[in-house]
Subunit: 193 residues, 2 copies
């Protein structure tokens, strides 16, 4: 799916680091361009408009803005899984382990059972899809809650890593606004058509 | 300053835990109500409209949505300080230590020097102001960058903790949408007029 503005911003501002790391800190993961985030949310809301979404689920931190923007457009609330144990989260939660490809660290993400149930139909969104570990953890949390998963939405998918293929072959609808198929050490970034 | 809708939502959905912890996970810190966040951002943008803000600074995670919403309305970008060392943050950063009152943990927050400079005039926003440690760390980061601080904006200030008084007595403009002056073990929440 074409989303030329995002691709253009990745081309001009994205930085490639060893280990297939694509850094988009100028507009998504550190500094945030609210206009671009709004445009991305418009697109996710359009794609999932007829899916009767009741909640938009993500994980802290970078996915929160997109999730909230999409939730506003769909007339529902956003919910972000927390990465650590906070002493002010009450008992009664869904948990799943996740390993971050970017930081190399493992952690548990959790969602309070107060805010997700079997009556929910969930759209899972995040900034990046690479190995798919965060996405699978969020799907596992939805499964524990008995919620239906309507699909996934990612700003940037690394098409050369297996996350997208794993989700699609499991039968999920996956919408990625920009799919990067190849990056070169010289800074070249090639998108799937 | 009155912001009745937020106060009403705190009254009806806020939960009080031992240690003066006020949990608003149903609309701000876990589940997010995008309509309320938009209304809060409207108010911050109105309050700081004439302040020539060039960047809205916050710290992950819950402050990000408000920061991004305010940034959109002011026509600038948001920037969130990161809480841990990420291997994809390049060298060249401003850092400050911060201890979370809620989790009891200490960490370092950092901002890349690419995105904050002496030409910036910064609005610092966050979800909560209690002891003021995160706010002071963000102010320290702005100071390191040589940026001007136009002021602070908080959704909820705990007026019985010293953060607000410390910032105001240091000469900063502080706008809190709801100031909680007292909480009781029975669940009573009393706001400053």
């Amino acid at each position: 799916m074409a989303f030329e503005r995002l691709k253009q911003q990745i081309r001009t501002e994205g930085k490639i680091f060893p280990g297939n790391i694509l850094k988009v800190d100028s507009f998504l993961n550190h500094q945030i361009d609210p206009v671009l985030c709004g445009a991305m949310a418009d697109e996710f809301a359009r794609l999932y408009a007829s899916e009767r979404i009741t909640k938009v689920l993500t994980v802290e931190a970078s996915g929160i803005v997109i999730a909230c923007e999409v939730a506003r457009r769909l007339g529902v609330k956003a919910l972000f899984a927390k990465k650590a144990d906070h002493k002010n989260v009450a008992a009664g939660r869904y948990e799943a382990p996740v390993r971050s490809y970017t930081t190399g660290k493992s952690c548990t993400i959790s969602v309070s059972s107060e805010y997700l149930s079997s009556s929910d139909r969930v759209l899972i969104v995040d900034d990046f899809l690479a190995m798919g570990e965060a996405a699978h953890a969020l799907a596992e949390i939805a499964r524990q809650a008995g919620a239906e998963i309507a699909g996934f939405g990612f700003a940037i998918e690394k098409g050369f890593q297996p996350g997208g293929e794993l989700l699609r072959s499991a039968g999920y609808r996956v919408e990625s606004l920009a799919i990067v198929d190849r990056m070169t050490d010289e800074g070249g970034i090639f998108f799937r058509d």
